[in-house]
């Protein structure tokens, strides 16, 4: 029982990321409105970015901005600083995600100009007519 409690405290955050990802995934495949699908895609992306950032966390670690002269003089212990590599990769992912959102919104506007609606089933009806 005690071991299970420790396991829960050590891993509850992963379960919450999975729940967030499930919310985004359901919005992407279950909702009919295209803007809702896009919001779901953004939630999905932030859940994955959250997971990546949390792999670099070290308990009690400092932020990755160092004291230049101190480091040059004495060096540094890497276990005291959080892992900067996931931050770099996810910085790229966030900027790409806003580009994807922009292009998707432009395509949405084009669809609305063409069919007059953003509901998936109505668009399918208009196409089959």
């Amino acid at each position: 029982m005690d071991g299970m409690l420790q396991e829960i405290v050590a891993k509850y955050n992963y379960w919450i990321y999975v729940v967030l990802m499930m919310i985004g995934f359901y919005a992407m495949i279950g909702k009919r409105n295209l803007v809702k699908k896009l919001l779901g895609m953004n939630i999905f992306q932030t859940a994955i970015i959250l997971f990546f950032v949390s792999t670099g966390v070290k308990s009690g670690g400092g932020i990755p901005i160092l004291d230049k002269y101190k480091v040059l003089a004495e060096g540094i212990d890497p276990t005291q600083i959080v892992n900067p590599l996931p931050h770099v990769l996810m910085l790229t992912a966030i900027v790409v995600s806003v580009s994807v959102t922009g292009v998707a919104l432009a395509v949405l506007q084009r669809i609305h100009r063409e069919y007059g609606t953003l509901e998936e089933d109505e668009i399918l009806e208009r196409i089959s007519e």
Binding site: R32, I43, T101, H112, L118
Partner: protein, 81 residues
Amino acid sequence: MIWQLDLLILLLVVACALAVITVKDLLSATIIFGVYSFLMCLLWAEMGAVDVAFTEATVGAGISTVLFIAAILRTNRRSKD
């Protein structure tokens, strides 16, 4: 990294995500998505990822929300589900 604070923010984030996909008014959903982005930014700042938090605060909560609002005002505001 304080786990009580972390758990509180994570639960708020999940509540915001649920609200985003259940609200029928798309403009409200977008504003709640801005709140979601800001809570996410808080979470990352608390994890020590200051650069990612800054990017999310400017890009996710700023530009994304504005782009969504611009697109929604030019299309339909109501959604059926």
